[in-house]
Structure formats: structure tokens, C-alpha cells
Symmetry: C2
């Protein structure tokens, strides 16, 4: 077959169309996966040639070796929660006139509704505007600058807004080759009307004030008393307990709560204040998301800088564009349009209400959990109408585009095999298979909030742009 | 086939011995279960006749209807944790000279080592003896009476000792046909050297004193402030999070901790005291076991008293005898010898160190979780050398001897089907299949403690004795 000889590597046998061929083994109870057959790289001649070069040309072995090193460094990283600080004080490059947001760079003019809503809420929270109208005028006037979270080693769910006075988790690598690497994320607000989904009502701002004045300081003191928390160890346990670390974080939140609660009590003289903080964390099963995300960012930063690696080190969306980065070219974005999410909507909401895909939370899939560990959390596929078997199939599919399993993230229902980790740009293109991302869905208008949750992929455009640039980069590096 | 005509009911096709017959579908990926074939009731002619009568005689439909009602009542029960009290004050029939123990009745002379060790520890803890020698003399002298926990609507893990001054959880049925039904259990001590495994050193007694003076009162006040906790709801979540509620209780413990911690803070003026209590609960992933057990007892009490039901309502072991009861004859024991546990031993320990099966914790399997929900907790079979597939097979096997699924206890890896619930004495005998129980293993000598964990079944003798009595009971009831 031409595709095989062209690419020179093993191609998995897929069943391409004739249903009767699949019926016999299926009737006998054997698992059969029927996929649409498409030639590698979508059949585009130029991209097929580039891909062939990268998979079987003279640089292929060097790329393989670079990927193996990048994966090994990711696996050796040990992200710990070491502190809770204020963004302005601890996030590198943060400034009083700077707001960080999810995804690749975007101007106010191109910002989607929920991100505009979050910016309005951020201006109200920071006391820079009296009402939404004033905030909108200020935002358009350039009074604050906008920068992606990823440009500051931070990540943020949904709109991902980080403003100067917000408390942030500080994650530090305590293992691997680059101990001391730090990443950052705000604290999770809970569900309902929240800033990250673009809501900015008084209730939203009041909660942010509580988080700044009470939640952040109390947890910061408790953590200082208790000492750093090993997030990889905690995530490993959560994967044994039905979480996948993106759309389901009940176990991670519970285990974190257990770690922090005794120290919250010891560190806080005012017991009603301590109890309010514990109530807030206990009331939000997504609290751990804002730790699983910067943990993932920390793991991926460990993999970055391997000059010939085709490992995808960032996937992030601003609600308008979807951007990816490669470990070989940190900081360089390859983008395409953010897609619509296939999902389940809250009562009274439909796809017509939905904003396209948004948020830095795809860092979880990029780091080898979230949608890639779906088999650990069948409750999520049930939510969108699937079965436990679909959850296993989703994780098995991601093995086809990743560099290897993470033995530290064992999945019980797959015989305790490690979660598939490290997306190889080349494999995704060769196998015409995009990463699967679990995500929430924001209303497309500013000020509304969440309308559902579901599944999404990156746009092919981002992967095609990355292929062109990576091929050029490999040629230049070896010249 | 004679067994079919004899019993008149459907018999599942089992593969009985010729391996080649099973190879073809297995090679095609179809699941094949190979079991040893034995005729019903072990082939004993008299028992086969009794069983045939109960399965297809004139009373069979009445028994089926009684079982359906018993199961419906079990499923409608809503056990809540409503209080924490002192055994002497809240356990019905408790007295200052009474010690409760696990399993069916047993005299000091016939007590196994770990139960004797626990009695010695209980006498030291209650201040009735100065040392182990004096305690042993006192125990043999009859200064305290012994009674099974089950005779007082209580359950206790391993030795199951309840002495008058111990704090106990009070569980109350808030649903079903008999709201107000109460059951009881002590608080879990943790692992290592603990009374329930027969240890009685100073460390063990000091911990019991802490539990009496600090843990019990602090949690009691917190619970009073917070209000009752729906245990069935909590258990349902824990089954989605890798627990089976017997040998794995990490999720249940975590969720309970979240529920109680804010109230502990609010109810306790001394914050170091509050923190010590939180540390103790957080330090013990088995803390929820002592709630899953009395929850199971409460569910089963709801099923009791259905005059023609063959539902097994109690399975309990005192380390010498294994006893069962039926919902149709509450309070009447049918016993056989406690068996040895197939398990994994701690370093330096072997089967030669092990006491036979002990504890009331088999109430979890009796109520349809624990070993019956093994598919929810594959980590346990991995611990004893099995695979995730073995865990699924264990739960599927228990469907063959139970009355139906518990839709409230959904198991994700089995397509969210309910855990198999309500052992039918007749089905176990017809299918020659005993309930599978997960359990810990105690050292056979007093004063040592835990040596391992593993799997065990009841002895057939208990089921045969129950068959004889139930057949007689049915005849007498219909005469």
C-alpha cells in the first residue's frame, strides 16, 4: 500500500468501510473499531511529503531520540504545590496594567463573548471600573494590556483571566532535570455564575473578593504550615478514584481537602474564617482542576527545549483561536479556529448558545490525562450519552498518537496500564487522529456563564501549521 | 439433564471441563467462564430433595414473592449517620458487665487468639485489670458476659469488641417501611497494632482512650451541628471512586471527612483538639469501614421479618465459627467452622501465622457491596495478584446467587449496572457458589495484630444447616 511505503513506518490495520468484513468478529464478541479511512496528513501531497521526511528521512532517528528524551524528562518531573501568592508578586512579568487570558494571543477586538465578559469582571474586581459599560470602554481603550497565561508560565481554565490582585497557586518542580521550574494558576471559583465562564455580576465579583481576602491568605498560611504537596502523587491516586483530572476532579479535590484541612485549623485563629474556607473548598468538586492544570504545565515545561522534538507541549484556546506549541520551539504558536464542542447542554440551553472551545485546560490532555485518561472516569462519557466501553476506547485511541504510557498515572480499568502521554505531532498527522479534549461550554455572550460540557478536538489547521514550521525547523537545525 | 428437571428452574450453561470447547469463542475474544461442575447442594440426595421443594414445590412462588418484598425493603432503606454516642448509653441491652464481639455466640473457652487479645485489651481499657495476666484471669472467671454484636443491632470489624465506654456511631433508617430502625458500630482505630486485630499493648489502650475522650466527643458535637449524613448516598459516590466498602474505603473516608471537617472546626473551641481529630481521621483510609458496616446492617434489618424469605440477612464470624441468619428467621444462627483466608501476607508473615476468618464485616457482602462490588475496586484484586478482569468476573459471579441489582450502587466498569444484592440461600446451593468475602487477616495469637488481607467464603456447613431449618420453617409456616 502506498501509504506504508511512503511513510516507511508501521501503519495499524483499520477497517475501512465494508461493514460485512467487521460483522463476523463483532458477532463473536471481538472488539472491532471502524474508522473513516483517510490518507495521512489528510491526503495533501505537500504535507504527505513533509511527514514522510520527518517519519523516515535522515532526521527521523534524531527526532525519535529527542522525543524519547522529552518524554523521559516529562515523566521525571515532580510538580509540588509549594505556595499560594498574589499574581502581581509571584507571576513572572506580571504588572499592574496586565491581564492574562487563556489560549494564544488575542486582541480585545477579536475576543469572544465570554472572554470579554471575564475582562469586564476583572476590571470591576480590580476596582478600575464602576460598571460594565465603563469596563467595556476601558478594555477597548487599551488601559490594560492582554497577554496569554502561557507567556508567563501560567494556565487558566475557560477565559483563564488572571488579574494582578488574584491569589495564585505556585507549583514547583521538585524532581527531574530542571528542579525549581515554577508554574501558576488562579484558585477555582466553583460552578454557576463565575468569571471564567464570562459572568461578571456582583455575586461573581464578591466571590473574587472573598477569594483574595480570605481563601487565598488562609490556604497560604495552612500550606506554609503543612509544607509542599506532591501533586503527581495526588493525581495518581485520583486516577484510581474515578477522576481524569479535567472534567472530573472530585477525588483530587477530596484528597487535597484532607491534606489541607488540619493545617487550615492550626493556622487560623478565627475558627469561623477557617470553617468558611473549608466550606468553600468542600462545596466545589472542581477545586483540584486549578492544580491539575499547572501540574500538567509543569510536566510539559520539563519536556520543552529538546531541539528536535515533535512533542506537542501546549494546546490552548482563547475562544476564537486554538493554538498549539511544540517542545522544540517553545513560545511559538500554531493556530486555527476554535471548534464547536459536542456536548450536553443544561436545561433550556442549546448549541446556538455555545461559544466555541475556550480555555487552557487542554493542558491536561497535552500532559497525558484529562480526555486521554477517560478510561479512568467513565462517569464523564455517561454524562454525554456514552458507555463505559466508549471511555476505554477513547483512552486506547490516544495510545495511537502518543509517545508512551505514564507509569505514574495507572488506569485500573485498563489493567493498570499508564495513561497515554506525549502527543507526537507526526503520529497525529500520520494516523489522521486528533487529540480528544474534555471541556466545559461557555455561553457565547458576555455575562452569562456555563451552558454545558462535552468533547472537542483541536482544528487540523493548527497541526498543519506546526508541521510546516517543524519541518523547516528540523532542516535549519541540521543544516 | 437431571438437575434441570429436578429443580424445575433455569440453570445457566456452564462449561464443565473440556477445555477445547471453550477455546474457539475465547480465541475470538468472547468471554468464557469455566467452572467446576458439581451437582446442586453438593450432590447430597436429601439436600437436593429439600432444595427442589423450595425451588419448584408449592411454596416456591411464595418464597420468590417474599424475597422480592425483602429486596424491595432493603432497597428502600435510607441509613443515615444521626449521632455518635457512648455504647452504654445508646446500644440496646448494653450493660456495664457486657462485652460485645463479632460473629455468632462463643464462650471464652472457644474464643480464638485475636478475640481473646481484644477482650484482654477491653478489660485494660475499661480499667478492670492492671495487666494482661489479670485480664485473662478475669475473662475466664466470668466477670464480664459476652454477647454477639448482632444481638444488639451492632456490628464490629475483626474481633468486633464493643465495651461499655466506647464511642459508637448511631445509624438510623430515614426511609423505607421501618423508619427509625437503628444500628451501631464503634469508630475505626486505623491500621497497625489495634484492638480489633487482637493487639492490647499500651499504645492500643492509649488510642482507645483518645477515641473515648477526644475523637468521639468532638465528632459527636460536629455531627450534631451539621445534621445527619445520608450514608447510602455517600456509599454510592464511593463506589464510583474505587471503593467497594469493605477492604477499600479511601473514597468513603475522604467524602465523610469533607462533610465533617467544617463542622468540627465550628464545634470545637480548642483548635489543636480539632486538628488532632482531623489528623486522626485523615490518617486512616479505613475510617469509613465502621460506617459502611452498620449501613449494611441497617439495610438488612429492613429486609428482615419477611416470613418466607430465603434471603441471607447476616454473615458473621467470631474467628472460630462462621454464622449466617435468614431474613425469615431473624436471630437464629446457622454455623460452620470459620475458614482460612486466601491472601497476601505482610513481610515475614505466612499462612501459619493466620487466624481463621473473623469479623462482622461480611455484613458488607451480605448487603450487596464489599466483595460483591469488587468490579468497582480492581486495586484490591491487584493486591492479591489478580487482574482488573478478575474483579469484573467476581462481581458477575455474585449475580448468579443474588436476588437483583441495587440501582443505588452503580458500578462504572460494568456499564453502571447495580451491585448484585440479596444472597438467596437457594441460589447459592443450587449453583454451588458461595458468597465471596474480602477481609483482613489477624494473627492467631492474642496481642499481635494484622498479618495480611485476602479473600474467603463461608463454610458450606452453615448453608446446609440453614437449608434444613428453612425447609422445616416453610413447611411449618404453611401447615
Amino acid at each position: 500500500m502506498s501509504a506504508t511505503s511512503l511513510l516507511g513506518g508501521p501503519i495499524e490495520v483499520v477497517h475501512a468501510g465494508i461493514d460485512a468484513v467487521a460483522e463476523a468478529p463483532r458477532a463473536a464478541g471481538a472488539p472491532v473499531t471502524v474508522v473513516d479511512f483517510r490518507p495521512p496528513a489528510g491526503g495533501d501531497t505537500r504535507r504527505m511529503a513533509l511527514l514522510s521526511e520527518l517519519l523516515s528521512g535522515p532526521a527521523a532517528r534524531e527526532i525519535d531520540a529527542a522525543n524519547a528524551r522529552a518524554l523521559a524528562r516529562l515523566l521525571a518531573s515532580r510538580p509540588h504545590l509549594v505556595a499560594i501568592g498574589v499574581a502581581r508578586d509571584v507571576v513572572p512579568g506580571m504588572a499592574d496594567d496586565l491581564f492574562l487570558h487563556a489560549g494564544p494571543p488575542v486582541t480585545w477586538e477579536r475576543m469572544c463573548g465570554p472572554m470579554r465578559g471575564a475582562v469586564i469582571g476583572g476590571l470591576l474586581y480590580e476596582g478600575r471600573a464602576k460598571d460594565a459599560d465603563e469596563a467595556e470602554r476601558l478594555a477597548a481603550s487599551g488601559v490594560v494590556r492582554f497577554d496569554p497565561c502561557h507567556h508567563h508560565d501560567a494556565v487558566g481554565p475557560m477565559a483563564g483571566l488572571v488579574t494582578p490582585s488574584m491569589p495564585v497557586f505556585v507549583i514547583e518542580d521538585r524532581g527531574g532535570e530542571r528542579p525549581g521550574t515554577r508554574t501558576f494558576c488562579t484558585l477555582n471559583e466553583g460552578l454557576g455564575k463565575v468569571l471564567r465562564y464570562g459572568a461578571f455580576s456582583e455575586e461573581v465579583v464578591a466571590r473574587l473578593v472573598f477569594m483574595r481576602d480570605e481563601l487565598g491568605p488562609v490556604l497560604a498560611e495552612a500550606l506554609a504550615l503543612r509544607g509542599p504537596i506532591d501533586l503527581k502523587h495526588l493525581m495518581a491516586q485520583a486516577l484510581q478514584m474515578g477522576d481524569e483530572g479535567h472534567n472530573r476532579n472530585r477525588a483530587g479535590t477530596s484528597l487535597l481537602f484532607r491534606e489541607l484541612a488540619p493545617a487550615v485549623v492550626r493556622a487560623t485563629a478565627d475558627r469561623e474564617r477557617a470553617a468558611r474556607v473549608l466550606d468553600f473548598v468542600n462545596g466545589n468538586d472542581h477545586f483540584f482542576l486549578n492544580l491539575s492544570m499547572p501540574m500538567g504545565k509543569c510536566l510539559l515545561k520539563a519536556a520543552e527545549g529538546e531541539p528536535l522534538s515533535s512533542l506537542v507541549s501546549v494546546m490552548a484556546r482563547n475562544g476564537t483561536d486554538f493554538g498549539i506549541q511544540l517542545a522544540s520551539m517553545p513560545g511559538r504558536w500554531f493556530t486555527g479556529p476554535a471548534l464547536n464542542v459536542r456536548g450536553l447542554y443544561f436545561p433550556g440551553r442549546t448549541e446556538a448558545d455555545a461559544n466555541p472551545d475556550i480555555g487552557d485546560s487542554a493542558i491536561t490532555e497535552t500532559a497525558g490525562f484529562g480526555g486521554f485518561a477517560m478510561a479512568a472516569a467513565p462517569a464523564i462519557v455517561q454524562f454525554v450519552g456514552g458507555s463505559a466501553e466508549d471511555a476505554l476506547a477513547a483512552t486506547r485511541a490516544m495510545r495511537r498518537i502518543t509517545l508512551g504510557p505514564n507509569p505514574g498515572f495507572a488506569i485500573p480499568s485498563l489493567g493498570f496500564s499508564g495513561s497515554p502521554t506525549g502527543i507526537d505531532l507526526r503520529l497525529a498527522l500520520e494516523r489522521n487522529l486528533l487529540p480528544q479534549i474534555n471541556t466545559g461550554i461557555a455561553h457565547r455572550e458576555p455575562g452569562v456563564g456555563q451552558v454545558g460540557a462535552g468533547l472537542v478536538t483541536p482544528p487540523w489547521e493548527a497541526f498543519h501549521a506546526a508541521l510546516e514550521a517543524f519541518a523547516e525547523h528540523v532542516r535549519a537545525s541540521r543544516a
